[in-house]
């Protein structure tokens, strides 16, 4: 199958700093991949490399099968990108900015432009420099999607949006996937949103890919257990530390705790492990799915539960 982007041992250095450390990654057509990672993990560098704004220091990076250093008009015309810094030409109007970008694209969907201007509530006569950060982000998104790209790169596209605008944007992205079969790579720290729209997850940590697979597989691997002591406090093994390495994190004190666990490879194993845990400690255990935000620290090697944070349990 043709991949839209492929990285092989991709390394990118900025002086002494290693931003990408020999990563291997593929973006399959029609997939929506969430790119997550802590600050400085290399997300923006990767996105900029895909579009050829940064070139690899070592390794290969191929976009639409072509080295990113050689991307031509044909390839760039198939890419839409929203960059994190949102730097547009402030002296232009919204209409002028659209006109400027339109001039470079052979295929530009005027109907989509008109629709999105209306939906996103952007005034074409507004000067770009007078737009709020959220509206500037909307405009950047509009510029990226109007050419109907095959590959859409979104670097923190919702960071400046209010909840309603964020909701609209996510709905729009889902619509985009349905309508155009666009391949999307979206980077964001708002993991709740990521979880709603992506079908694959690529997690970067210190320039390396620490996880790249289906989101569903990831979510199935983890569970949250609400454990309650029938009488008295929780046993010491749940307050002072963990014996089991599949218990990744704990929140709460007193009679209740919320555990993030990786109980097993399949449902039977997980159920058996839960039953064993319940009998061993004499606790009531209620299993529930874990969300991406809870799983993320363990993906990047942080186990905050080991530091016994005192947090409120929200059953």
């Amino acid at each position: 199958m043709n991949t839209h982007f492929q990285a092989r041992h991709l390394t990118r250095r900025f002086g002494d700093k290693l931003a990408l450390d020999g990563i291997d990654l593929e973006l399959q057509p029609d997939s929506v991949t969430g790119l997550i990672g802590r600050n400085g993990s290399g997300k923006t560098t990767l996105i900029r490399t895909i579009v050829g704004l940064l070139l690899p220091s070592a390794g290969d990076a191929l976009t639409f099968g072509k080295p990113v250093a050689d991307l031509g008009e044909a390839e760039l015309g198939r890419i839409g990108a929203v960059f994190q810094e949102n730097r547009l030409m402030g002296w232009m109007t919204v209409a002028g900015q659209l006109e400027f970008a339109r001039a470079y694209h052979k295929h530009w969907d005027q109907a989509r432009e008109a629709t999105l201007l209306d939906v996103l509530e952007l005034d074409p006569t507004d000067r770009v420099s007078s737009l709020s950060p959220g509206n500037a982000q909307k405009l950047a998104l509009l510029l990226a999607v109007c050419p109907r790209p095959d590959l859409l790169l979104l670097d923190e596209p919702v960071s400046a949006l209010d909840p309603i605008a964020r909701e609209e944007l996510l709905a729009f992205l889902l619509e985009l996937v349905r309508e155009d079969d666009t391949t999307i790579l979206i980077s964001s720290h708002v993991l709740v949103d990521i979880e709603r729209v992506v079908d694959r997850i690529a997690c970067l940590d210190r320039g390396r890919v620490v996880y790249h697979d289906d989101l569903d597989d990831l979510l199935e691997d983890y569970q949250e257990w609400l454990v309650t002591a029938p009488a008295g406090p929780l046993p010491e093994c749940l307050t002072a530390g963990f014996r089991e390495d599949w218990i990744l994190e704990r929140r709460g004190t007193g009679r209740q705790a919320l555990l993030l666990v990786r109980p097993g490879a399949n449902g039977n194993e997980a159920e058996a492990r839960r039953a064993g845990f319940r009998e061993r400690h004499g606790l009531h255990v209620e299993a529930r799915p874990a969300n991406l935000e809870r799983i993320f620290p363990s993906l990047v090697g942080r186990r905050p539960g080991l530091r016994t944070p005192k947090q409120e349990v929200r059953p």
Binding site: G15, Y104, S130
Partner: protein
């Protein structure tokens, strides 16, 4: 040409635009003088003063037109290429390569035309500095037009982009110094300059320096604030009577009521200890290097009294030629100070506009913004002007005291009148409204409603204002000896008041007919 590109042309707030404007104004002055004194002023090979020829005039026009066009196109390309998203547009990279080559060729054109028209038989036989102006004519426009684009290419290595920026700056410095002091002095000065740059490089990233050197106006400020030398957040926080980076929350009426209190200097992000250097900018650096080299080597430039025009040219373009044309007993300092003051003011001028954030300007109409820029900018200019004058006066006094030359000589004062630097300062003050006119026009005719023809017209007005400033200052000084000197001195404040009144009257008339919000 794309209308958007054309609209960008009039945004001349980059360092390069200022540098090129200097050259353009210089060239215009040379052309004007050539009609009076002959094309030999441009180059001796163009013929004696008494018989300015068609080819010589053609050469000058051929210099002006490509330089002007290159300046406009260069400004536009710098504007567009400084936004990362443009580099992701299909075709933009090819367009930039093509335009850079075209601009390089355009930059070479004036020099080639001049060279083709030089009558070599009139060149001095002995090797001297007279051919050096041609070097600068050859080198500066192509470098200025083409090399700047490299700096913004995000695909280039940071070191390469930094090298491009440093090379551009050092090239200009070096050319000026070779022309003024010869090779030996220039090497010393360049070493000093390199040391300054190296010291800076040790503390900033390449991206920071790049932005520091080449960005201007509202685009430079956010980057400057992230610079390690920048005022710390607590310094940038809301200050009494000023707006920081936050959006204005006081409502439109309060905003209108206190327009002068919401301005602040746009600084490059220099720390407290180094802000004077940052304020002086490249011109200040040139001044420091010139003075340092002179003091180190004991060299002096000898110019005649009353040759202030030539002095201006000397310090902006081709000093060696003009130095050789002149002869006199005047020391360097009193010659350097006026032009240094002028250069300094011009260099920092673009950064003296009111630093209002877009969010804070949002509730205002274009007219109100123009008025704010006019008044606030003028206040800032006045502050910068006063500070620079005091600084230069202090420097002049210190050197005069140290060298025992005093101020009473023929070279340092106009008889019983004020010293040169004060006259120049007044001349600059008289023309500050012209620069503010340009800034205000940018707000009155912003890109949103700007048709290409209107953009071009506005560009012409702005450029003419700058050139007028150069020309008028030069003439003001040059004619001091031909006319009653005190008339010129007194004319300066009158011009200031008249200019202000005229512009305010115009704006008030516009306010009466335009919707404010």
């Amino acid at each position: 040409m794309r209308p958007a590109l054309l609209r960008a042309m009039w945004r001349l707030d980059t360092f390069w635009a200022i540098a090129i404007l200097l050259g353009m104004g210089n060239a215009l002055v040379m052309a004007v003088r050539a009609f009076g004194e002959g094309p030999a002023l441009l180059h001796p090979g163009l013929g004696p003063a008494s018989e300015y020829s068609g080819p010589a005039v053609f050469a000058m026009l051929a210099f002006l037109v490509p330089t002007g066009l290159g300046m406009l196109a260069n400004g536009a390309l710098l504007e567009t290429s400084s936004c990362p998203f443009t580099w992701a547009l299909p075709g933009f990279r090819r367009a930039v390569r093509r335009d850079a080559l075209a601009l390089f060729a355009l930059g070479c054109l004036p020099a080639l035309v001049v060279l083709a028209n030089v009558d070599s038989s009139n060149l001095p036989a002995a090797p001297s500095g007279t051919s050096h102006p041609l070097w600068s004519l050859l080198a500066l426009p192509p470098i200025g037009f083409a090399a700047g684009l490299l700096v913004f290419d995000p695909r280039r290595a940071g070191s390469l982009r930094l090298l491009a920026a440093a090379t551009i700056l050092l090239t200009i410095l070096f050319i000026e110094h070779v022309l003024l002091f010869g090779l030996a002095g220039s090497l010393v000065a360049t070493t000093l300059g390199a040391a300054v740059l190296a010291a800076g490089l040790a503390r900033v990233t390449s991206a920071d320096l790049q932005k520091l050197l080449l960005l201007g106006g509202d685009r430079a400020l956010p980057q400057g604030n992230r610079h390690p030398f920048a005022p710390q957040p607590w310094e940038r926080a809301e200050r009494r009577g000023r707006l920081g980076d936050r959006r204005w929350q006081g409502g439109l009426d309060a905003f209108r009521a206190a327009p002068l209190r919401v301005v602040e200097f746009e600084r490059w992000g220099w720390s407290r200890g180094t802000w004077p250097l940052g304020l002086l900018g490249p011109a200040g650096l040139i001044l420091l290097l010139v003075a340092g080299t002179t003091l180190l080597l004991g060299q002096r430039v000898q110019l005649e009294a009353g040759q202030t025009l030539q002095l201006f040219l000397a310090l902006t373009w081709n000093p060696r030629l003009l130095g050789e044309l002149s002869a006199g007993d005047h020391g360097l300092l009193q010659m350097v100070l006026p032009s240094a003051l002028f250069l300094t003011l011009l260099t920092i001028g673009g950064r003296m506009q009111p630093a209002l954030r877009p969010g804070s300007l949002y509730p205002m109409s274009r007219t109100a913004r123009a008025r704010l820029y006019w008044r606030g900018g003028l206040a800032n200019w006045a502050r910068a002007f006063g500070a620079s004058t005091l600084l230069l006066a202090a420097a002049a006094g210190a050197v005069a005291f140290a060298t025992g030359t005093g101020f009473g000589g023929k070279g340092t004062s106009l008889g019983d009148g004020p010293p040169y630097w004060l006259v120049t300062a007044l001349g600059c003050a008289a023309l500050l409204p012209l620069l503010q006119l340009g800034a205000s026009l940018r707000e009155l005719f912003p890109g949103e409603k700007l048709e290409p023809w209107k953009a071009l017209a506005t560009m012409i007005v702005v450029a003419t204002s700058y050139i007028g400033l150069l020309f008028a200052i030069t003439l003001n000084l040059a004619e001091l000896h031909a006319f009653e000197r005190w008339c010129a001195v007194l004319a300066a404040p009158v011009l200031v008041v008249a200019g202000q009144l005229a512009w305010r009257g115009y704006l008030h008339r516009k306010l009466a007919t335009m919707d404010l919000v």
